[in-house]
Subunit: 174 residues, 2 copies
Amino acid sequence: MPNKPVSTWEDSREEFIAQWGALGSNWGINRTMAQIHALLMTAPEPMYTDEIMQRLHISRGNANTNLRELNGWGLIRLVVKKGERREYFEAEKDVWKMFIIIAKERKRRELDPALGVLKGCAEQTKGENAGPGRDFHRQMKELQEFVEFGMKVSDTVAGMKHASALQWAIKLLG
Amino acid sequence: MPNKPVSTWEDSREEFIAQWGALGSNWGINRTMAQIHALLMTAPEPMYTDEIMQRLHISRGNANTNLRELNGWGLIRLVVKKGERREYFEAEKDVWKMFIIIAKERKRRELDPALGVLKGCAEQTKGENAGPGRDFHRQMKELQEFVEFGMKVSDTVAGMKHASALQWAIKLLG
DNA sequence: TCTAACTTTCACAACTATCTGAAAGTAGGA
DNA sequence: TCCTACTTTCAGATAGTTGTGAAAGTTAGA
């Protein structure tokens, strides 16, 4: 009788972790952070630092930094097991919640500062009423309004429960 | 009589270019590319390579590379003036069109490859029907479906004219 | 209080991305 | 054809990011 292959899903998981790490880079997220996230997202149980270090072949400092960073994003959380000193980590696994966390964070990092710049530029040139100065002012205004608008949409969607978002989207797509 | 200040809008523009460049980095776009884009977006007339080099204090190679890259994105286009050899560049200024271009490109770069990975992992583990293997498979499936769904929404929105997108959004927000 | 199990920090090393500038390539027109 | 005005390429330099590992810091409980 041939041997049963040893857990195909573990191989697939390995693949997932590696690829997700690589994707992270195209994406503005550092490789280790993406890998840790992938690892925890697919972990049946919470894991602690040394397990993660071994599994991903990374140093303690690196593991620690990226775990804190992921925790800052809200994508993983600290778990304490009673009677144990060490900290375990587990990832948020609900896809919709993950999406909302990421959307909020990206908004904060990408949109908020951009809006500041645009507002400033629009404000400074609001007196321009002819020629290229006026055109510049208009463009800043348009960009500002567009960004504000995008932020509103993002807030609205992020405030939705998964079910109502789905319903809304079905209407849009249908 | 005090001197009239020399074009406040030019100062504001300078600021915009500098800040936009800095923002680009938080954003996964390289600084020079973002600066060139900001420069052209606010240029009353098309510009040519040497002007851009001087204005941003960058080398010829750098200017050339990033201009081609922006052209590849479709965010700027080449303009030839009759009777002139050299190439001029001008940016797309319509905010909605810019948004659509960027959304499409990000989808292609960020979502398409991720989808590939997820599909692969889901496929490989579709036989798992118990324990952590099944959970893994489920998670890959969920992620896959979510990404596919996101892509559909993105396509739908990108196919809209500005006016209908606005109308749709007003309904969403109202 | 002391120890041991753990977490955090940080100077430096390794790696990656970006930029430069000079040389090579290209094409319009004399 | 050759010159000239331009564009493209690319090897090496620079700058920026991420990772390492050992030392310092923290805290629970003996």
